[in-house]
């Protein structure tokens, strides 16, 4: 079912909302909101949509669910980051305008530049965490990934269990012996290959066979 048709309807059934991005105030968000107001069971919920796009909350809740994460710092002070985290450091934006950007800073001047752009000229706070290993973005569909790495797969499953975001990209950093979750980002339509779409439709079929009706 198309999002627009669903928003006009008052279908009272469990709803599965599949979209490449669930940005707040965009159609993907309103579909979940509409389903919630109707009292439907919905994947993902509004709460999870908002929380998964706010990196500090996302990591806090993921850590509560047993996902390995690194300590984060939410601040707008460069000094604090240098004193408490050192370099290199991974920075995520926490503001109303940037929704998919992150930057890595290896030295003081790069940190200042990153803070300036992600903090919209120091107007907003940013979320910083130490960068210890190799950074990678992993596409996941219903908690499944193409990754051969078992720790990455485990992270993806736990994140899906907690946040129920059907499609997303997970930002994960791997050290020699461990993988840490760093953030979540939307998948753009161009990034979805034929193979990806096949897996997605297979998963949807599986879920609907388990007796859940859905929209979109």
């Amino acid at each position: 079912m198309k999002p627009a048709t669903f928003l006009d309807s008052s279908i009272k059934e469990a709803t599965l909302n599949i979209n490449n991005e669930y940005r707040y105030l965009k159609t993907g968000y309103y579909v979940s909101m509409h389903a919630e107001v109707l009292g439907n069971r919905v994947i993902p919920s509004c709460e999870n949509i908002i929380d998964s796009s706010r990196t500090p909350i996302f990591l806090l809740r993921a850590a509560k669910a047993g996902v390995p994460t690194l300590p984060v710092l939410v601040t707008d002070s460069v000094k604090k980051i240098m004193n408490e985290l050192g370099f290199p450091v991974l920075l995520f934006a926490v503001n109303p305008f940037i929704y998919d950007g992150y930057k890595v800073a290896c030295n003081k001047s790069a940190l200042y530049r990153a803070m300036k752009s992600l903090g919209m000229n120091y107007k907003f706070a940013i979320c910083a965490q130490p960068l210890k290993g190799e950074l990678s973005a992993v596409k996941t569909y219903f908690g499944k990934t193409f990754s051969q790495d078992s720790s990455t797969q485990e992270i993806a499953e736990k994140v899906f269990k907690t946040f129920r975001i059907p499609l997303c990209k997970l930002c994960i950093q791997k050290t020699v012996d461990k993988a840490y979750l760093c953030g979540l980002q939307p998948v753009s339509k161009e990034e979805l290959s034929e193979q990806d779409l096949q897996i997605i439709s297979k998963e949807i079929l599986l879920i609907s066979e388990q007796g859940e009706a859905f929209g979109v």
Binding site: L7, D51, P56, V74
Partner: protein, 292 residues
Amino acid sequence: MSKIACFVEKYNFADPREEGALQKFKLAAEKQGSEFHFLFREDISEIPKYDAVFIRATTDPLNTAYVVSKTAWELGLKVIDDPESITICGNKIHQYALFGKYNVPSIPTMFLKKDELHHKKISDVFEAFGKPVVIKAPYTSFSRYVEKAACETSFRNVAKRFFRKSDVLAIQKFTPTAFDWRVGVLNNDVLYVCKYMIPKGKWKPGAKLRGKPTVVWGRTVSFRRREMPARLSEAALKACSVIGKGLYGVDIKEVNGDFVVVEVNDNPSIYAGYEDSSDHDIYRRIIAYLSE
């Protein structure tokens, strides 16, 4: 004895009336034997040290204030405004959908989706509500992002501007009144009542002068809680009950003797000598709720 953190941003201290109110909160807390500290953006990692968080910085699901609220909530602290209230009050579409579901007496409202901005729909809107209509973006606060439109051209202009950020907008019937009632509600109980007068010749409490960037605000006239009309408190409490148990400011219009809800705001502004001038205990009651 509890430790309360008050999350503020620099602009909360820009207005002496608001700063006065913040100092009164601090005083009230210290009188009750609680600690009251201002928490700024760079100290967000210190939230676990506190027992309760009181947010005074502007809230929106996309603001730092939401991060503070949700972090405190996840850690099991007492929070005003709690994350759910921010989500519902920060998005007026969500709020009106809930009002519709629970039959809260509110201003006639329609939703407009991004792909519906065409001649047919616009004439339907004008036919249903007459001219002009009020167009509201979901993230409105302080009378901003609320505009009226009397013809199709201006309707399209305003809607296009608001659609840049949100895929759905609210369209409301234009209901001019001389003032809006503002009812402060805490934990399903009326906290304060006042009238926000609308500046002469304008239609919303904070209106721009033609061609000038400054905003003129109407006067605030406060009343005692026990003198308020019973039906007014009924309408306010009913509207808040569908949202939650936090601190809200309900805007209500009196139309032909009926009380209709305009909107419920979380994080209502409290200025020293304005909202608090009839019922002086509002600071004490909010602090008592936080340190419970």
